[in-house]
């Protein structure tokens, strides 16, 4: 792997280094500024620097235009709301509208006022319509009361009269007459109110009325079957029609107040039957009229909204573009003469030609006499990091970026992560059955790529869709490692050769006690199928996977250190090569490289040596004889040398670097006072940038402590990171055990019952367990562990990740921001 990395340093490799950037200055004549920025936004390869950072948004040149755009955006949002309410969806048409922003503003204002007026009118009409509906209900229901009351009153009268006539004797109390007379005199003053009250409030309404008037009130209620639209709130509510009879003006005032408090709408009501009937017909007629008016209004409104919907998208895009253009223009500083705008920004060097083309086209199209001036500035500021990714590499770059954006031109781990990330995932997820399921899911997303990318997806689907190529590679590697582990939903297949093991004799008696014996060549590809289900399966697989984790870990950590070498060479930092790369390499390999060597030698020779013992006693008593643990001749001397190297490399890492840095700093500082003046143009810029750089004091203690921390981190990290790679073993063990449990305890057990229903139930449980636990949960956990191995164990060897991302001004990125 090392060779690949080193060769990558010499010719430029895609993605290995971020694009070379430059700070450019544009001087744009004010008349073509708008068009220029617009063309640059189409191009999307220039990140404007804010040259007015000290000004508040209101003090900037184009604040009013931004306000206008904001107002237009608000109108568009209003239209969208209205369309949403009316159920009109904006149509996606691709034909670009050639409409001026000023015309559009006028148009939008007109449409808005029209729409607002229409809404207001519609609301008013609707309200009066609802009121009329309620009124009609009151008329009907209250009319019924009166009719029934009247008939009852007549009956009572008759009865009373008959009684009166029947026993008109001395026994009849004299007072009764008086009472009746008094009653009739009061009856004249009895007033009544009719209206509607919400049903859930009706009980309380009645009680309060009763209390307020001390019982001197008569209330009749009737339920309205269908919910009624309340004219005030416009909501459908269930209501009761009520009629209140009261006596006296005082009571009336109280009742009116109570009605108001309960939101009970009152309606005038005539006592005479004839008038009632007349009113009902009148109200019905008006209702019909209103209905047609409202329908016509709605139709008109729908028509208007449809016409808006047809162009909504284009308007929206236009307004957003306009707003972003003015935002960008606000970042430019106005020239002293007020005839030019000065822009500064970062752009990749390869884009020079395109930017200049855009400038020229803009000048031409806006009939400007002067072209915009394009010049490159020299600066010591760190440029932004920009990787040109495609749809395949972008998700992998995203994995790295979420840890930290690479420093400008730093070696980018993505070049290796594209392969090693899915590979380490697959080491933990090795099962070619599950791999195929994952592959199908990834292929589904890839095949429907075009359709899905234009749709709005929910969060989880969006994430899966974004990582579809990562999942594809993960699936492919899982299938490969599945063949290596020889597991298909935990079932082994002897695909490549017969098993290498066989019984010791024909009777096969000791197969369950002593075990089988190797009779043929080693199984050529992957784990021998015979291991599955044997009693020695776990000891064998554990030893194999543990050693494999260490070997893979040592290899990947070495790759990481080699990457730090690439960085040191690229940035011409010889100190890092001699006092960081070399001692780190020596330290790691003299301990864990040696362990890896021991593992391989042990496998090749079939020795019984105890590797733990060797490694522990290499530290505790390095001079002791190894005895039966000796794997090869001269092992003791080699160990002594390696131990010595490891011990030397620690101070080698720690001590020289701070002293050399100090010396370099002094030399630079001393030399600086005597350097001849550079050309004036350059020195001016250098000075401004230098202020921050030159006054930076060299704190030796700080540098030393920093180096100390780095050294301790590396030394301890070498141990803990190697141990951390054992997660590969743990996760792959968990995966294979879980899948074999599901297979044996669910599927095979269900099969054993010889019953179709049980089999089907077992199959369903098996499928759900496989999908839910193995394909979703295990994928997530293996993904996270692979992520950690890359972020921590691999990248801490070389990756600084303290850069900042390149954010060009681009119209195509506008959608993502909102």
């Amino acid at each position: 792997m090392g060779e690949v990395a080193r060769r990558g340093c010499c010719p430029p490799m895609d993605l290995f280094r971020s694009e070379p950037m430059q700070l450019v200055q544009l001087i744009i004549p004010i008349e073509s500024a708008h068009r220029t920025v617009s063309y640059l936004g189409d191009l999307g390869l220039l990140q404007f620097k804010d040259l007015n950072a000290d000004k508040s948004p209101f003090q900037r040149t184009y604040a009013t235009q931004i306000k206008r755009c904001g107002e237009m955006a608000r109108r568009l949002r209003f239209f969208k709301e209205q369309m949403l309410k009316a159920g009109v969806s904006p149509k996606y048409s691709t034909t670009p509208v050639d409409v001026n922003i000023d015309d559009l503003e006028v148009k939008l204002t007109e449409i808005e006022s029209e729409l607002v007026e229409m809404n207001a009118n519609g609301e008013k009409l609707q309200r009066s319509y609802n009121e009329l509906v309620e009124y009609k209900l009151v008329l009907q229901k209250a009319g019924e009361f009166f009719r029934s009351a009247q008939s009852r009153a007549i009956e009572q009268q008759r009865e009373f009269e008959s009684r009166h006539l029947g026993d008109d004797s001395m026994e009849t109390p004299l007072l009764q007459d008086q009472e009746l007379v008094g009653d009739s005199s009061k009856q004249v003053k009895l007033g009544f109110l009719a209206g509607l009250v919400p049903r859930e409030k009706s009980m309380v309404f009645e009680r309060i009325l009763f209390r307020a008037t001390r019982g001197n009130v008569f209330l009749r209620q009737a339920t309205v079957e269908d919910p009624v639209t309340d004219p005030v709130s416009g909501e459908k509510t269930e209501k009761n029609v009520f009629v209140i009879f009261y006596a006296g003006e005082k009571a009336k005032a109280k009742i009116l107040k109570i009605c108001e408090a309960f939101g009970a709408n009152r309606y005038p009501f005539a006592e005479e039957l004839g008038k009632q009937a007349q009113m009902i017909t009148e109200v019905s007629g008006r209702l019909l009229e209103l209905k047609t008016t409202i329908d016509a209004g709605l139709h008109h409104r729908d028509h208007l909204l449809n016409t808006i919907g047809a162009q909504f998208e284009q308007w929206d895009v236009l307004v957003r573009k306009e707003k972003s253009i003015h935002h960008t223009l606000n970042m430019l500083s106005l020239d002293v003469t007020k005839k030019c705008l000065v822009a500064e920004g970062w752009s990749p060097i390869f884009a020079n030609k395109q930017i200049q083309d855009a400038l020229q086209r803009a000048a031409l199209d806006s009939n400007s006499q002067v072209n915009a001036i394009f010049q490159v500035l020299h600066t010591r500021e760190l440029p932004p990091t920009f990787f040109r990714t495609n749809k395949f590499t972008s998700s992998f770059q995203g994995i790295i970026d979420s840890y930290g954006v690479a420093k400008y031109q730093e070696a980018n781990p993505t070049v290796y992560t594209v392969v090693t990330f899915p590979f380490l995932f697959a080491v933990m997820f090795g099962d070619w059955g599950h791999g195929i399921c994952l592959l199908l899911a990834a292929l589904y997303f890839i095949i429907r790529e075009k359709k899905l990318s234009s749709q709005k997806l929910d969060d989880i689907t969006e994430m899966t869709f974004g990582g579809r190529y990562v999942i594809l590679l993960m699936a492919l590697f899982s299938i490969y490692t599945g063949f290596i582990y020889n597991e298909f939903f935990s079932v082994p297949f002897a695909l490549f050769a017969p098993s290498a093991y066989d019984c010791r004799d024909l009777s096969c008696r000791d197969a369950t006690t002593v075990g089988l014996i190797k009779v043929r060549d080693t199984y050529p590809f992957g784990v021998d199928p015979v291991w599955h289900g044997t009693r020695s399966e776990l000891p064998f697989l554990n030893s194999l996977k543990m050693k494999m984790s260490i070997l893979l870990g040592v290899a990947q950590m070495n790759l990481g250190i080699v990457m730090s070498y690439c960085n040191a060479i690229f940035f011409r930092n010889r100190v890092n090569v001699w006092f960081q790369f070399i001692p780190q390499m020596i330290f790691l390999n003299s301990l864990f490289g040696y362990l890896a060597l021991l593992i391989i030698v042990k496998w090749c020779t079939g020795s019984q040596a105890d590797l733990y013992h060797i490694l522990i006693y290499m530290f505790l008593s390095p001079t002791d004889e190894l005895g039966e643990n000796q794997l090869f001749v001269g092992q003791k001397n080699l160990q002594l040398v390696l131990l010595l190297l490891a011990f030397i490399s620690v101070p080698w890492m720690l001590l020289p670097k701070p002293f050399i840095l100090k010396k370099q700093h002094e030399a630079r500082h001393g030399a600086e006072s005597y350097t001849p003046l550079e050309s004036t143009d350059e020195s001016l810029q250098a000075e401004s940038n230098h202020e921050s750089h030159g006054h930076e004091e060299f704190e030796f203690s700080e540098v030393f402590v920093h180096q100390l921390i780095h050294t301790i981190e590396f030394v301890l990290g070498a141990v803990s990171n190697t141990a951390s790679y054992l997660r590969l073993w743990a996760l792959s063990l968990a995966h294979s055990e879980l899948s074999s449990v599901f297979y044996e305890k669910v599927l095979l057990m269900a099969w054993g019952y010889n019953n179709v229903i049980i089999l089907i139930v077992g199959l369903i449980v098996f499928i759900f367990a496989t999908v839910g636990v193995l394909l979703v949960m295990e994928t997530l956990s293996a993904f996270l562990h692979a992520l950690r191995l890359h972020w921590v164990e691999f990248q801490n060897k070389f990756y600084e990740g303290d850069g900042y991302k390149f954010h060009p001004f681009s119209f195509s990125l506008l959608d993502d921001e909102e």
Binding site: A511, T512, G606
Partner: protein
């Protein structure tokens, strides 16, 4: 198939794959280098995995002991 033969097969597959990417996705030297890196890394990873498992089974210290039930 011994260790060296299969290793050779891996090497051949790696070379063929890098030639294929070179022919099918020829997009300038820096892209080609990137593709080559991907193919080589993948080949080396796969080979390492296979080699580890193969070596581990070459001189067995533990032999399979069948379970009682079988």
């Amino acid at each position: 198939m011994g260790f060296s033969v299969t290793t050779l097969v891996f090497a051949v597959i790696g070379i063929v794959a890098s030639l294929c990417t070179r022919i099918c996705f020829n997009r300038g030297p820096s892209s080609n280098l990137f593709h080559l890196t991907l193919v080589l890394t993948a080949t080396i990873c796969c080979w390492m995995m296979w080699a580890i498992v193969y070596l581990a089974q070459m001189k067995p210290l533990i032999v399979p002991i069948l379970s009682e039930g079988e």
